[in-house]
């Protein structure tokens, strides 16, 4: 899972990014509205955390532009503006959630995961695919009822496939959702991660769709 964090306060942005990375998220930081707006409109993210009082462009107008351009990115507004009228404005502009500063990082993580899960069309917290279970609230995988230990990259790939289980995820899109914007991506690295995952959860669960990407499925075709 890759998240866009648009926040102008460097200390807060770093803190949030560190905390999110510790929870296996890939995080891109934009420190102003213009950059954030551009990134959100052009890259694949699972969610965006958007401050409202941003330099160059206000968060609300960034969000409006995304929605006008049909960017469906789930957006969580994270702001010091706590009046209910501001919240109404934020949601009307197209926000999916709203969190007022200061906040508990656990709540941000929890809300972010819920946002990504709901955006993928899952109403329940627990997503099951054959022997594999994903607690979208806690961000934990289980295999045959036992906790599954994964690296951050493995977790990102598997959670992405899990949220869209049964559907083909394009290889390029999967790469984008796994690596942060400034990462050096080796063209073979995805195959390496998939290989390691297959060793951990079993070969048959992840299906390679030639020329397109990968699919997680409990009943291989």
């Amino acid at each position: 899972m890759r998240v866009l964090l648009v926040e102008d306060d460097a200390a807060l942005a770093d803190g949030i990014a560190r905390a999110l990375r510790a929870e296996n998220f890939a995080v891109d930081i934009a420190s102003n509205g213009e950059d954030g707006g551009h990134l959100g409109a052009t890259e694949h993210y699972d969610a965006a955390i958007l401050d409202l009082g941003l330099p160059r462009r206000d968060g609300v107008s960034v969000l409006r532009d995304w929605r006008e351009a049909d960017v469906r990115l789930p957006v969580l507004i994270l702001t010091a503006r706590e009046s209910w009228s501001d919240k109404v404005t934020g949601f009307k502009a197209g926000a999916d959630d709203y969190l007022v500063k200061p906040f508990r990082i656990e709540e941000l993580v929890m809300r972010l995961r819920a946002l990504v899960r709901r955006a993928a069309g899952h109403a329940a917290n627990r997503i099951i695919c054959g022997p594999l279970a994903f607690d979208a609230q806690l961000g934990q995988f289980e295999l045959d009822g036992l906790p599954l230990r994964l690296t951050a990259f493995e977790w990102r790939v598997l959670s992405c496939l899990m949220l869209r289980k049964g559907a083909v995820v394009e290889r390029l899109e999967l790469l984008e959702r796994v690596y942060e914007g400034d990462a050096d991506v080796d063209s073979n690295s995805m195959e390496v991660i998939i290989g390691r995952l297959r060793r951990k959860i079993g070969r048959e669960l992840i299906e390679t769709v030639r020329g397109r990407g990968y699919r997680l499925t409990a009943a291989p075709a």
Partner: protein
């Protein structure tokens, strides 16, 4: 007792009444005096003529020549009050009207002022009672002859002067009285008319206060224009001050909350705050910042305004917002509000009041929230009811106290109720907590309905 009335109207009325009365009284006295002198001169001339006639009867040796002491009417009629008397050194004579009696005289005949020489031949006047209740007017002349001084006195009834004087004074006083009434009426009209701009100014100012106007109409009489200019400047300064305070407050909120958020995030990292002591401290700062900033924001509201905010639209927006904020807790919100119901509150304040209360409802409800509103006289009742655990009867009052934390769940803050109450009270409304029919808490917010 204060001598100067507080009211300008009464002050001006008192001044003009006193001045008019003084002028009228002075006019009555001076006209009366002139009239009296005018009428008195006729009497004096008659008495002086008699004195001049009988003065010739005093012979140089001090005796009186009775042939020359001519008795012209009405001095010959007894009881008429007309009379004269000569007191010469060696003889006296008196008018027939006295019928042999003495001319009633006061104990001492006033010597009068020492007159200049050229006036020596002028009789001097005095007045006295004739002993029978009749006022007499006297003229006395001292004539010097070889044998000494002879005193010649003539008297006439004063009544002869007083009757025409009365006859003249009565219509005079009447017309002066009428004049006074006319002046009083003119003063009243003048005061009403003259003070009218002040009343208009007061109405204008109350329009500004009620939000019907932005400024007091500057088209005013010259004397009020500087005042109105100052007032409008004050209104502008007040508005600017309020806007400035709000902006500062927003900046302050942002300035405190962002680093505080960074601090919370840092402290949450593993190993940073093992026993949670620092996080507890930060939570306290957070709570009090949130509380005081919320209160300060409520205090910088512009107060009652003549706005009509449709309640149903605000509530449905807020319900949509809350449904998304609490997306993990599906709550069925039943909104039954007549779209025609409006409240005389700023839309942002309505959002703040209803948002806090609805949020509270969402936190506590098990599955249902019912929202309704009804106009009750000059007020609108907004009722929010949930099917949660409610608040025990004994704690209902305490729940509205500021800083009271009813909700210990993460992300919750217990200040919503007290902020909502402060805002509602700012508008002259209030909040009542009671046990609801759904089993949970029923919050009844009273807000003013628009006037007219």
């Amino acid at each position: 007792m204060r001598l100067i009335p507080k009211s300008l109207f009464w002050r001006l009325l008192a001044i003009s009444t006193i001045a008019t009365l003084a002028a009228l009284i002075f006019a009555a006295f001076s006209i009366g005096h002139v009239l009296e002198r005018f009428v008195m001169r006729g009497l004096d001339e008659r008495l002086d003529a008699q004195i001049a006639i009988v003065a010739r009867a005093v012979r140089p040796d001090g005796t009186v020549d009775p042939a020359l002491a001519a008795d012209l009417p009405p001095f010959d009629r007894p009881g008429s009050g007309w009379a004269w008397e000569i007191r010469a050194p060696r003889g006296t004579a008196r008018s027939r009207s006295l019928a042999g009696g003495d001319l009633p005289l006061p104990p001492a005949i006033p010597r009068g002022h020492r007159r200049p020489r050229e006036n020596a031949g002028e009789p001097r006047p005095f007045e006295a009672d004739d002993g029978q209740g009749r006022r007499l007017h006297y003229r006395a002349l001292t004539v010097s002859v070889a044998a000494g001084d002879a005193l010649i006195i003539a008297a006439g009834p004063r009544e002869i002067v007083e009757r025409p004087l009365r006859e003249a004074m009565l219509p005079l006083l009447l017309s002066l009285g009428l004049l006074g009434l006319g002046l009083a009426a003119a003063t009243l009209v003048q005061l009403r008319f003259g003070l009218r701009p002040l009343h208009a100014l007061r109405r204008g100012l109350s329009d500004v206060r009620a939000g019907r106007l932005r400024h007091v109409d500057p088209d005013q009489p010259a004397e009020l224009q500087p005042l109105v200019r100052e007032l409008n400047a004050l209104i502008d300064e007040n508005a600017a001050g309020l806007a400035g305070a709000r902006a500062h407050l927003a900046n302050l909120a942002h300035g405190i909350k962002t680093p505080l958020a960074a601090l919370v995030v840092e402290l949450a990292e593993p190993g940073r705050d093992p026993d949670g002591r620092l996080r507890a401290l930060v939570a306290r700062i957070e709570d009090s910042a949130r509380h005081h900033l919320g209160r300060a924001r409520a205090a910088t509201q512009s107060g009652p305004r003549r706005v009509a905010t449709p309640l149903a639209a605000r509530i449905s927006d807020l319900v949509a917002v809350l449904a998304r904020i609490h997306a993990e807790r599906p709550i069925a919100a039943e909104v039954a509000i007549d779209p025609a119901i409006t409240v005389a509150c700023d839309p942002q304040d309505v959002d703040e009041i209803a948002g806090n209360l609805l949020d509270n409802g969402w936190r506590w409800a098990r599955g249902r929230i019912a929202i309704s509103a009804a106009r009750r006289g000059a007020m609108v009742d907004l009722v929010i009811e949930d099917d949660g655990p409610g608040i025990p009867e004994a704690e209902l009052d305490a729940a509205l106290q500021p800083g009271r934390r009813l909700d210990e769940r993460p992300g919750g803050h217990g200040f919503g109720l007290s902020i909502a109450r402060e805002l509602a009270e700012l508008y002259g409304g209030g909040i009542v907590l009671e046990k609801g029919d759904l089993g949970g808490l029923r919050v009844r917010v009273t807000l003013p309905a628009p006037v007219g």
